[in-house]
Amino acid sequence: MAKMKIKAKEKKGVVKVKAMFTSLMADKEEAEKKKIKVDYIRQIVAKINGKVVYEVTTSGFMAENPLIKFKTKGGKKGDKIEFTTTDNNGKTATSKKKIK
């Protein structure tokens, strides 16, 4: 279910990346209180040209619709950045975006 919004810009060899993921980020405790299903992103991986440039393990500690930002030197204009998220059920979602 995880939709994402990605923005990547290169300037002087540094790629600034911002990405937002649609997820309730409800861990077990929160889901019990809200009476909804447990639903959170477990892992976020970003790759440029097949090379991992960013990887995090996430959980309910992050807010709903988490936003991440990072800088990397691993890409240039025209490359594609690919985000893969894994949710608590092991479901993955992928989205690509060209670096500007």
């Binding site: 939709k3 919004k5 923005k7 911002k18 937002m20 929160e30 209180k33 809200k34 709903e64 619709n65 936003l67 930002k69």
Partner: protein, 411 residues
């Protein structure tokens, strides 16, 4: 475009529709009283004249009274009939002035300027001018409105589910009112951004830039125009903006657009029981309104066990409790606490701290009298008398004595 007169009526109607919604939400039940009966008798029989309070066959939009204005038009406000002789109303607005003021755009596109902007341009503008308050991707933050997010899906009645959220306890969600979930018309998005944003310097965006930002926000909300998804190159213009149907388009009621707007509102509120579920508004003998059918007993709650014997008994005396003088604290120390302690309690403020023997040895090298004079006239960062001009010179001397005494080596 409407004529000015019509417009002001519409504004009044919408304001009333919203307040009426609020009020009727608080009413609980009905008696089915004829609303005419509650009006003064003269209002029914007397022929309505200009500015007079009158309930004719029509009720006011919110069920209250109406005032005749002119040419059969009624308003919810009393018409001021004072003589205007000798009052200067200034001059008529010039066509150009009206043009500069009359900027709004209707949902059908009337009044929208020509122009075009792409999502990509909007992205750049948003990042430079909007993101600092509204957050990246419109996610909101720092107390400024969230523009994207929220669940746009609807229940079986066509109500956006997110809007039904109620913050009942700690972790439950409040309704999310974003463009995608709450705004009914996309044209108002354009006019609002143009007229009121960016917050720090409004009206600084050109029409093209405003179209671009509007396009970006619609794209971030996942809005489709004519079934077409908005990608980066999507260019928004007047024709396309009019076609936008936002998810909560039908979430507002009744329809107040057009010259029939007030009548629509009237018809809507005439059937309160059905449309709002609040029953008919009680205007007379409302002490025992009964249940929804008017027959069952009213649920008036009274205090069953009133507390009458309270120890100590209830009192209306509002004096402060008498001040008990602390004999262990000298007068000088009291004054020190009030005027000097802030700086002299610790060495952090740069002043010799009370109790710091070495610091006071240095101070006293000048001689006690000189120290007192310094304290009275001020010295370095210290204002005269420590900033408290109410102190007399004798008081200051007493305080200095106290401070010196407190900073001596104890044997």
């Amino acid at each position: 475009m409407f004529k000015l007169d019509r417009k002001s009526i519409l504004i009044g109607a919408s304001a009333f529709a919203s307040t009426a919604l609020l009020f009727t939400g608080c009413l609980s039940s009905s008696t089915g009283v004829d609303e005419k009966a509650s009006a003064p008798s003269n209002a029914i029989t007397a022929p309505s004249t200009l500015g007079e309070y009158a309930i004719k066959n029509k009720t006011a939009i919110d069920g209250g009274v109406t005032y005749v204005r002119a040419n059969g038009v009624e308003t919810a406000y009393a018409y001021n009939q004072q003589s205007t002789k000798g009052v200067s109303f200034g001059r008529r607005a010039t066509p150009n002035e009206i043009k500069a003021w009359d900027l709004d755009a209707l949902p059908d596109g009337t009044g929208l300027p020509e122009g075009e902007g792409t999502v990509e341009e909007g992205d750049e503008l948003y990042e430079a001018q909007c993101a600092s308050c509204h957050g990246e991707f419109g996610a909101g933050g720092k107390g400024y409105p969230q523009l994207t997010g929220g669940n746009q899906s609807k229940d079986e009645n066509g109500v956006v589910i997110t809007l039904k959220n109620q913050r009942v306890y700690g972790k439950t969600d409040a309704p999310k009112r974003t463009i995608g979930t709450y705004w009914p018309k996309a044209t108002t998005l354009f006019t609002y951004i143009r007229d009121a944003m960016p917050y720090a310097h409004p009206k600084s965006l050109t029409d093209n830039e405003t179209y671009a930002i509007t396009a970006y926000l619609l794209a971030q909300n996942g809005i489709k125009i004519d079934g077409e998804e908005m990608d980066e190159e999507y260019a928004l213009n007047k024709e396309k903006l009019v076609k936008v149907v936002l998810p909560n388009n039908n979430g507002f009621y009744p329809n107040i657009d057009g010259p029939n707007g007030p009548e629509n509102v009237r018809a809507f509120f005439a059937d309160r029981a059905k449309n709002i579920g609040a029953g008919v508004r009680c205007m007379k003998d409302c002490k025992d309104p009964g249940g929804q059918d008017g027959k069952t007993e009213a649920g008036v709650v009274k205090i069953k066990y009133e507390m009458s014997d309270v120890v100590p008994p209830y009192s209306t005396v509002r004096d402060l409790p008498p001040e008990v003088e602390d004999k262990t604290v000298s007068k000088a120390e009291k004054m020190y606490n009030q005027s000097c302690k802030l700086c002299h309690a610790t060495p952090q403020m740069g002043a010799p701290a009370v109790g710091d023997i070495d610091a006071w040895k240095d101070v006293l090298a000048k001689g006690f009298d000189k120290v007192v004079i310094n304290a009275i006239t001020g010295m370095g960062g210290m204002p005269p008398k420590g900033g408290n001009e109410d102190l007399t010179n004798t008081d200051v001397k007493l305080i200095v004595e106290f401070m010196v005494d407190s900073s001596k080596e104890k044997h």
